[in-house]
Symmetry: D3
Subunit: 239 residues, 6 copies
């Protein structure tokens, strides 16, 4: 039995709350169980230098954790003077994931920055962040559409969501919490679109190397989990 | 009439919510209207170098703002590689304010760090932070008391809370929101104890210099406002 | 009796020496007793980005301390790679104080930077810096006036000077030196104009909170002290 | 046909040259075609803080690129004052990959740092680095074994090597050079052991999302390629 | 006898290998015995701000050492976040030395950056770097000449090369290796042109001060050594 | 004729003022004409890590310039977050020069840091700094001697002073001011002891390379100039 009493293919309770920020053009508070991430999408009328006069826009992401989002307080990155390798790795992943479903030409020469700030962490912060960031991005595009700036359906080519899987005590399980994640033999993150295409897969053997069969087992779990998450995105955006 | 339709001596709706963090020893989500600050108190069994073997502990604070807490997205301090002068000024103020009501000897050789992270800003973030940080600190001490580490009543000598006042269109007003603050001629922050002693006063003429009489008017408003905030702290801590 | 044998309302010997720098457009070596601060005003034909094409100029300040200005050598900020929170707090205060008496429109699109470098410290460096910076600024404007760039009397609306007060052994005293400052129960800095308006007030209880009556006592001392300093500014600028 | 005229499952010419550094305890110059990486393993008699008195050692990696390793000169990271997110991501990957085949307890409380410096880049620098780093690490352990410090065969549990695959013009291909990599629809890096276990898999859709079948095709290519690389490691280490 | 069994006026085996980088416009791997430095010259169509619209170009250099170029691994400068004083001193010296033989007007508004990266160090890295950087620079200019951008012979006014000398056990010796350098009483670096003019001389007494006569002895050694190096540059460039 | 109307072998008016700092163990304000450098020597009862338990002490130097020491205001190094290459080069030179006349064993395990801060610059700041730093160091050692910590005469083996020379309009001249320095063809700095030994020589051709004969001419000027400076050090220290 899993520590959280969940089935092997069972997600934690998921919630996606829209419009949680007074200021941001789009925002979403996403919860995967006790992992809570605040995602805000900010529109800026500028693009990075290499896109100037290209007619194309840019979507990027930044990631942070409040110092006491975790069991032990971590040093504040602003105080230590730099973002850790882990932070940079995650925010690059979120940005790539979002851009996989965006038509940058249809966006026009503008930048949307999605900030994903972990208010409370219990494993899976990057996958929750991607899943919530998509909702914030979608609402930002709706905000823009209502002002005649873009056609949302042209910019957003598909949904994108993410989930972690892992091999825990020899068994493939979905959506690991911190306790399970710390002890898992293999840890894998999947990012997939609404149509089931794979955008990103990152699997790491923490202990023993894993086999191809196990990888496929994890992928099956992820597919189902992400399909579920995309349904929830659809529901909340329709709401 | 004030932009927010409030009386000159009227606070914004204030709420103090305890135990909002799964991990922190004490925590409080404080709201002064649309200004929302998450305060978490973290206990560590170490002290700064200059207090080693002194038998005394330390209470300190850190302050941050999520990039889109404000009307326009601000650059993430972790990304720019340093904390701004404003950030440092505020976190030094919060730390001093808390230490004004703490008996560091009764705390013993331990450090409590109160992180104040602005989730949403609408003026008065530093005063909301001090007011909420006191509640988080108090709960952290209760956590410690329940483990026989300290006697909370010996460590905490009094309450401490803070409020901003200002002179807006010639009139002294209490608890300015961002709109009012941006246009105020004078801006002042007051930190006071439960017994009415002044811990800190910072008044700045943004436009014309102000007179002694005006300073006293602001102080009167602040006294009443802070007394009200201390009442709310008492109520929520008793709850 | 005060350690320095001064009366409670007595300033240390004050001197303001003009034109101490061969290169700067205006300069002043200010001494409050053993506290010596070199202030240089530098004119630059550029403004910060947010003022471009506004027709307005900018006055700003930077503050530094030589490593052995103090009793124990402090680490050089250029070597440690950043300015401390204290340094940033002080230079922001000096800049605000100067701007309180400057008509930025009458200055035109130019920037004056006043560097305040503490050659020797014995308490009250920020108040000495403000008092001397005004003289350096005034001379910089005279230099500009002699070249037909501005009318000094239109740019400078008033004098500005500053002094510290404190409660030491229960008594309110003026212009604390380092020895007195280290032991004071309350420490307050006042910045006021030649006409007696308050520009900035910063009061901090280092030990017990202080009462409104004490605040007013400190303010009275400060008013007299600053009036005296303004007289000295007038005298030296007339010289 | 591939730009390099290679078969889809064909590696570039690979060479592994040992003992290329006069100073390092182990070293290897690895070439995957025109991608050249110098790997040096340095032994230090210290471990990171969290391993002190644990009886366990540590293996870590650092990665760098000479400024003109690439087609256009890149800014030197030492001059810009920080390592890019990409650099950190890669050096974390190399370290994890090596640790996957190391018994840290058998190493004892010592650290081996493998520096992977790209002398010339033409795609696949991270996979070449891992493949060469293993050889440098193995030689470092041989150096230690000859001094009676460890038994190499107990520390090194298996071989580890890495290769990139990708989908280029709809076809799965092995070991992409820069030209192919820039245009590939999907890019994936695989790290596997000598016994064929998967240590790490990172797949990214640069353009269209990819399907499970494609992932498996890439994995097949990688398995064969890595088996080949491991043979070459064995040959050169036996030499 | 010298530790390396060389005569007092004998250089280490010197080699200059051209065109060692696939990407750089000019490159040279220079070896002074066991000191190996890779020099790459990169052309950029931009100049530093102060040269814009001057019609003049710029030649500059950067210097780095791989972490394990030395007997003990040194911290990677990119990881420590800054270049050491020694690194900056050396790269400034290389840049000045190259510019001494370049007509910046004949270069036109372009910048050539010569990166000198020490692959392996055994004393004399800066002098080897200057000697090899000249070859890389010359080849970069040849590359430009073949595209009609410049006339190499007009840009390069002369050769430049460098060598170290020192007083070791009371005797003046040429081209010190690390062992000799560590124990030398005086260490001097000379940069001279093909026509024998002195571009730079830096002599430091590590132990006892040295006398004028000794300085002249060192200079004599250096003249001969540099004449030899210039011959080798000529030979390899003619090859 | 030189711009300053001086003879070719004539120093600028030199003054060395002792005991100018209330706090430092030794201090000297040195003036070479309009170049003014404040030197303070600070004693600390600690040594760098590599000297612990060696019985030896350390003498080091730091160098800085006030932002408006120069004709145009320079950016404050503490604000830009790092010391320039020039600053580091100079402070390393000052430290080496002082250590050349110090017996570190006789100093005992302590560190003396000499801070050289340029209050006003007009060429030759590094040579003035070395000359003044020696006086500050000597006074620091006298302070220590009076407390029975060292015997000054055993720690200080000789005097050390420095001067710049240059070739200006084809003529060798002594002690260049800024105007002359900017236009000189060759610029050289000499550091020598009281007994006439050479500690450091740094000569740079700014324009045309220079010849051996010119180097010797510069050295002759420097010898006489430094002998004069050493006399002045003796006189002021005897005073």
């Amino acid at each position: 039995m899993r520590p959280s009493q969940r089935q092997n293919d069972e997600l934690r309770p998921v919630s996606l709350e829209r419009a949680v920020s007074r200021h941001a053009e789009g925002s979403c508070l996403v919860k995967f169980g006790e992992t809570h991430v605040l995602c805000t999408a900010s529109l800026e009328e500028r693009v990075p230098g290499w896109l100037k006069n290209s007619g194309k826009g840019w979507v990027t992401a930044e990631y942070g954790m409040l110092p006491r989002a975790t069991g032990e307080r971590m040093r504040r990155e602003a105080a230590s003077g730099k973002q850790s390798g882990r932070t940079q790795e995650i925010q690059r992943l979120i940005g790539r994931s979002l851009r996989a479903v965006v038509d940058l030409g249809a966006l026009g020469e503008r930048q949307i920055t999605v900030d994903c700030d972990v208010i409370q962490a219990d494993g899976g912060t990057r996958t929750a962040a991607i899943t919530g960031a998509f909702v914030a991005l979608s609402d930002c595009l709706a905000w823009m559409e209502s002002r005649g700036m873009v056609v949302r359906a042209k910019v957003l080519k598909d949904h994108v969501a993410a989930i972690s899987c892992g091999i825990s005590k020899g068994t493939a399980v979905l959506d690991l919490d911190y306790l399970e994640d710390s002890a898992a033999e293999t840890d894998a993150n999947f990012v997939m679109t609404g149509r089931g295409g794979i955008v990103e897969i990152q699997g790491t053997a923490e202990g023993e190397p894993f086999a191809e069969a196990q990888l496929n087992e994890l992928l099956s779990l992820a597919k189902a989990g992400i399909a579920d998450l995309v349904e929830r995105q659809r529901a909340v955006l329709a709401g």
